[in-house]
């Protein structure tokens, strides 16, 4: 029960943000929500199942392009977003069937090339705009209203994704994924259909990211392959989850806030060396807090077993 109250409290707090009337803040908050979706999604496959997936960028770009292309054929916005989620989901289910039998580094490398592959396909396929990119229809509402609309859209997606995480963490699926993460062979011997469970986790890690890509595309009005298939979109979710707390419910969202705060602060104060400074902070945090920021709070709380 406590997690649901926490989620509702966070939702109400964030939903009242536009009242502050600060568009810079609103833009940052929209990005935080987008990062939270990506981190939360990666947590399904990377945190719960223990499969280090680099496919997040592929799902993001796939969602962005699916939505942009079907909107260019006249589909309404919401339908396009839904289709983007569906496209990412089916693509992940199909891809999972092909690469989820690989373990550890082998899986990581196989998932890494997927975004590169999609990027090349988009570059050469007709109807995608190729290297010139695609422009999306602009909403016919005021600039301030647009900012609010996209903030609420990202927020809703982040909340949906977190709600899904809460349900799955406590379900048979979540339990099975934790078993797989700790010892896949032992899990199989106990009757866990590891292949099906991993594919489910991989698909879950795709569906919300695909929709986030679609919302992002509409938000910025213009997408091109190097932007939406950027490898950083695959790396940042991992960093966020590691910062916040691997395999936890609120860790990924917390990690998103921390990473973006650092990005903004470092970028503003160390313009020329911001990437190096950010890298250093991340290395320090991961070295000294390997279980994430949440572990600091956790150690103070009494331990609670899930199988009670």
């Amino acid at each position: 029960m406590r997690v649901w109250f926490t989620l509702i409290a966070i939702a109400l707090l964030l939903a009242s943000l536009p009242l502050a009337g600060n568009n810079y803040l609103l833009r940052i908050a929209t990005t935080v929500c987008m990062y939270a979706v990506m981190a939360q999604s990666w947590n399904f496959i990377g945190g719960l199942a223990g499969y280090p997936s680099f496919a997040t960028a592929a799902f993001f770009g796939l969602g962005a392009y699916t939505s942009a292309i079907i909107q260019s054929h006249g589909a309404p916005l919401m339908l396009a977003w839904g289709c983007a989620g569906l496209a990412a989901l089916s693509f992940a289910a199909f891809l999972g069937g092909a690469i989820l039998h690989l373990r550890g580094h082998y899986f990581a490398i196989a998932s890494l090339i997927v975004a590169e592959m999609l990027r090349e396909i988009v570059n050469t396929m007709p109807g995608t705009g190729g290297g010139k990119g695609l422009t999306l229809p602009i909403l016919k509402i005021s600039v301030a209203a647009q900012a609010q609309f996209f903030f609420y859209a990202m927020l809703a997606l982040a909340l949906l994704c977190t709600a899904a995480a809460i349900v799955i963490h406590r379900s048979k699926l979540g339990f099975g994924l934790r078993c797989i993460q700790q010892n896949e062979d032992a899990a199989s011997i106990l009757g866990v259909n590891a292949y099906a469970y991993k594919t489910a986790a991989f698909s879950l890690s795709a569906v919300f990211v695909g929709m986030a890509g679609a919302i992002y595309a509409s938000w910025v009005n213009y997408i091109e392959p190097p932007d939406v298939f950027d490898v950083l979109l695959a790396v940042k979710p991992m960093v966020m989850v590691l910062l916040g707390g691997l395999g936890t419910i609120f860790g990924p969202a917390l990690g998103a806030v921390i990473l973006l705060t650092f990005e903004e602060l470092v970028w503003r104060n160390f313009l020329t060396v911001h990437a190096a400074a950010l890298g250093l902070i991340i290395v320090m945090l991961v070295l000294f807090l390997p279980n994430g920021i949440l572990s600091l709070v956790r150690e103070k709380l009494p331990h609670k077993g899930a199988a009670k």
């Binding site: 406590r170 379900s171 048979k172 339990f175 099975g176 934790r178 078993c179 700790q182 010892n183 062979d185 032992a186 899990a187 199989s188 011997i189 106990l190 009757g191 866990v192 259909n193 590891a194 331990h303 077993g305 899930a306 199988a307 009670k308």
Partner: protein, 250 residues
């Protein structure tokens, strides 16, 4: 008695090595069968072959008349074949109770995680681990981890339980306790295959003993007969010793 498990000329080779070579063996319902043999004889490979971890490269495995040779480990587990690992395989970061709950949950004996937790408590009480239910599995001593392996496989409600050296590395008191638990499991009607190096243990609990050597089944029968079998003594102590030892007979 009716056959529960039938191995029909099963083989498993790794490259050029025949780890299990044309083994035919029947295990009847309610039996405790001891599986012995020198190191590297293929005992664990035989268990891996039955549970689908390393599927047979030749021959057939039948469980209750059903051909399970090509089934996946999780499917075989759900049919009621459980095993423990020689090198214990707990989920280290989970609690002891969660480890056991996994067995009940994924073999379909519990509808949800909470029910599985309740079932886990029963098996923890049976194996004497109830006090440690909320401790992480990684914090257990070897003897208790072996017991945890046992509790996990019991939660699967097995028809056939394969115990791979559950007593290795334990002290005499711990072995006595473990034997007591195994006997009580057998009394509940579970058929058991025991892999064991400690002869005293094998002889005291097995109804029947099968001996593997270089992947082949070289003898099977009543425990006392098997250990005085000449080829068995030869396998353990060398042919020369078997020929001169007056106890050896065919």
């Amino acid at each position: 008695m009716t056959a529960l498990l039938t191995l029909d000329g099963v083989s498993r080779s790794f490259g050029g090595l025949n780890a299990v070579d044309d083994v035919s063996l029947t295990v009847d319902k309610g039996e405790i069968v001891g599986l012995i043999g020198p190191n590297g004889a293929g005992k664990t490979t035989l268990i891996n072959l039955i549970t689908g971890v390393h599927p047979a490269t030749g021959g057939r495995v039948r469980f209750e008349g059903r051909d399970i040779t090509r089934m996946k480990p999780y499917q075989i587990a759900r049919l009621g074949l459980a095993r423990t690992f020689q090198i214990v395989q707990p989920f280290p970061k989970m609690t002891v109770a969660e480890n056991v709950a996994a067995g009940a949950l994924f073999c379909g004996h519990a509808g949800n995680v909470r029910e599985a937790g309740a079932i886990a408590r029963e098996h923890l009480a049976f194996t004497g681990l109830a006090d440690l239910a909320d401790r992480p599995a990684a914090s257990l001593t070897l003897a208790r981890r072996k017991r945890l392996e046992l509790a996990k496989s019991l939660a699967m409600r097995p028809r056939l339980l394969m115990l791979d050296e559950v007593n290795a590395g334990l002290n005499p008191t711990e072995i006595e306790e473990a034997l007591g638990i195994i006997r009580r499991i057998a009394e509940q009607g579970v058929t058991i295959i025991v892999i064991e190096h400690l002869m005293k243990v094998v002889l005291s609990i097995s109804h029947r003993v099968a001996v593997l050597h270089h992947g082949q089944l070289i003898a099977q029968g009543a425990p006392r007969d098997v250990i005085s079998n000449k080829s068995v003594i030869g396998a353990y102590l060398g042919a020369k010793y078997a020929a001169t030892n007056p106890r050896g007979r065919h």
